[in-house]
């Protein structure tokens, strides 16, 4: 499974890299737990919302290019061949 990070998620106080390949986990929630364990509280506070049961308001997660709001949110199931992309809320134009 590939996880890609963007914008400040690449900073050293978050993931500190652009991309990792990792052992498959079952859901996005589990992925968040594993990554937060690895990267710390700051990461957790952005990845999850305050209740810990949804994606944080300042974060956008795509699974295979689909925004997880249109899949099954934080409970979206993941497969080994999936690519997960994690962005902060950004804008431009």
């Amino acid at each position: 499974m590939i996880v890609k990070f963007f914008a400040y998620y690449r900073d050293n106080d978050f993931a500190g890299c652009k991309e990792i390949s990792m052992q498959p986990v079952k859901t996005l929630k589990e992925l968040g737990e594993v990554l937060s364990e690895r990267y710390g509280e700051k990461f957790r506070n952005e990845y999850f919302d305050a209740t810990g049961t949804a994606v944080g308001e300042r974060t956008i997660i795509l699974v295979n290019g689909r925004r997880v709001e249109f899949l099954n949110g934080i409970n979206t199931e993941l497969k080994d061949e999936d690519t997960v992309q994690i962005f902060p809320v950004v804008a431009g134009g």
Binding site: F6, R10, K18, G65, E69, A91, G92, G93
Partner: protein, 599 residues
């Protein structure tokens, strides 16, 4: 006046040389707000929509809004209004920087240029002193040369809006550049300026802008500024990362068009030209327009290599047009091409998309190496920059590219390869992967354009809330509100980027306290709808083609990515859109609609 407006319009007849100061039409200002709306109203009242855009009958209007140059959020904006030579539609091209506020400080809400000068001139405005001066020695200069020469002549406190040789020679997508790097970029307003033999407007002012209810205005502006500062996009993201940060996420959803929209995902190359890479490797510092708390502008330097250069930008759209759309993933080349566009005052969206179209024509064998002068293939960074430079300078094949992609492709018998709507190139989002933006392109009153109702906000960024980009449901109704709100925002004189962090309540509040109105939010939004319908009315009389998209988006499916197999479901959305607009099923506007809007 003490209501955000100055109360004076400058009317300059270039044919006779007469300069008149006339009182602002207050009724029109009330009904059409300012900048884009008010400029369009003046234009539509005075100009027959059927005229040739390059005839002296076309007028060129520079107009500010009631919030321009005040403490309102990001209030540095003005619009240039005329009939576009590229699209034949009404054009209101929006620019920031410091020029617009300075015009108000000099004592004018706007300038209406009429006719055509016999010889090159520029307009000198120093408070009450307004003169047409000889610009023969400036003719032929690029934006930077002309700006510096005018600062030398007039004084370095003057703010300069100018065109370059591209505008003088009628490149159909030449813009007006102010404060060196800020552009009223789209629709060829600079070419219209050039057709009038008007090189530049130099302005300096010492006067004031007053608002109707100062304390309340101060309070609502302070609150709006705090709100923007607290928002992750307007408070941090846009300033820190710039607009190029969109490359990866738009590519992520499969909507970053590649190779003249043949493909929809730039695979691993996207990151090479991303905002992250630009910040990490080339950003020198941020720049801000007047009164802006966001500061998304970027001073960028390519320190070495083939594309060694420095300048401002690129913004996301230019990053895409010279990057993904041309299959180029060399960020240095992308920056260099963008800097050339600033220097020569041309629209980088149309420029890059025209090069991309030429690349497809070349690869399909419809144009030859002999005609271009060198092989022009997707992915060739050097050829892309060279093609851009030739167009900027009006050399060789660049003369043909200076017509824009539609006329170029038509000349070679393949107009279907122009990725344009109403002859203006669509920007950096694929209408197949992001359905609502396709509807926006098709219905935009100035042809292919992303800033007339930025559907990317809900469909990709989730602002104010997320909509699924692959479906059509609800897009028409949302787009209508976005288009009306954008028309309002543009017309007040504040920056559209503020709407990532604020909405109608904040904009309406600033407007009310500035002009001294007690209208409801809904009444104020209605002005936006009125402006939209006025633009539409002009286009109808002008005989602009119907709302549609290039055949590629309607018939060729996306070959890969999350939107694989999709085409734009435009017909479905259009039908719904005309309904929510209260228009006829064929997209024309019934008289009753105009009456209902008090037009």
């Amino acid at each position: 006046m003490k209501n955000g407006y100055i109360g004076t319009i400058l009317r300059v007849n270039l044919s006779t040389g007469s300069i008149a100061k006339e009182p602002l039409n207050e009724k029109n200002a009330n009904d059409y707000v300012g900048a884009r709306g008010l400029g369009t109203k003046y234009f539509c009242d005075e100009v027959d929509p059927r005229i040739d855009a390059f005839s002296p009958e076309n007028k060129l209007i520079f107009m500010t809004g009631p919030l321009t140059g005040t403490l309102a959020t990001s209030s540095g904006r003005y619009n240039v209004v005329c009939k576009s030579p590229l699209t034949g539609t009404i054009e209101a091209s929006n620019s920031g920087g410091h020029w617009g506020p300075e015009l108000k400080f000099a004592g004018y809400d706007g300038i209406i240029f009429e006719g055509k000068s016999e010889k090159p001139v520029y307009l000198y405005i120093n408070d009450g002193v307004v003169e047409l001066r000889d610009a023969s020695d400036l003719w032929g200069m690029d934006v930077f040369e002309a700006t510096h020469a005018l600062e030398e002549k007039c004084g370095n406190q003057f703010h300069i809006a100018t065109i370059s040789k591209a505008g003088e020679e009628g490149v159909l997508f030449a813009g007006v550049m102010n404060d060196l790097h800020r552009a009223a970029g789209r629709g060829g307003v600079g070419a219209v300026m050039g057709s009038k033999n008007l090189k530049a407007v130099a302005v300096k002012g010492t006067g004031s802008v007053f608002v109707a209810r100062p304390q309340k205005f101060f309070d609502v502006c302070t609150a709006a500024r705090k709100q923007l500062a607290a928002h992750p996009v307007t408070g941090a993201g846009l300033g820190q990362l710039g607009t190029m940060i969109l490359v990866n996420i738009v590519n992520g959803v499969g909507g970053f068009p590649i190779n003249n929209l043949k493909d929809g995902s730039f695979d691993t190359y996207a990151d090479d030209i991303s905002g992250e890479t630009l910040v990490a490797k080339h950003l020198i510092r941020n720049k801000g327009c007047y009164g802006c708390s966001i500061g998304c502008g970027r001073r960028v330097e390519i320190a070495d290599g083939e594309f060694k250069s420095k300048g401002e930008g690129p913004e996301y759209e230019a990053g895409w047009s010279f990057g993904g759309d041309c299959g180029v993933h060399d960020l240095g080349a992308v920056c260099k091409a963008n800097f050339l566009c600033n220097q020569y005052g041309i629209d980088p969206i149309t420029m890059g998309a025209t090069v991309a179209c030429a690349m497809e024509l070349f690869e399909k064998g419809y144009i030859t190496e002999e005609e271009v002068g060198f092989p022009l293939r997707f992915g060739d960074a050097t050829a892309m920059v060279k093609a851009t430079e030739m167009t900027c300078k009006g050399e060789g094949f660049g003369k043909i590219m200076g017509l824009g992609s539609y006329r170029m492709a038509e000349k070679y018998g393949h107009p279907e390869l122009s990725m344009s709507v109403k002859k203006q190139e669509m920007p950096a989002y694929d209408g197949r992967a992001i359905q609502g933006i396709g509807l926006e392109y098709a219905t935009s009153n100035r042809g292919g354009c992303h800033v007339r109702g930025y559907m990317i906000s809900p469909e990709v960024l989730g602002i104010p809330s997320a909509m699924d980009p692959l479906v059509t449901e609800g897009k028409a109704a949302t787009l209508k509100v976005f288009q009306d709100l954008t028309a309002l925002c543009d017309s007040t004189g504040i920056c559209l980027f503020t709407t990532f962090g604020q909405g109608l309540p904040e904009i309406a509040a600033m407007y009310r306290e500035a002009v001294g109105s007690d209208e409801s939010d809904e009444d104020i939004l209605l002005k936006g709808e009125r402006i939209w319908n006025l633009e539409k009315k002009f286009n109808q009389v002008a005989g602009v083609e119907k709302d549609t998209l290039p055949p590629r988006l309607l018939r060729e499916t996306l070959p890969e990515g999350p939107a694989k197999g999709k085409v734009s479901e435009l017909e479905t959305m259009l039908k719904e859109y005309y309904e929510v607009r209260g228009w006829n099923a064929d997209g024309t506007v019934p008289e009753t609609k105009y009456q209902e809007l008090g037009m």
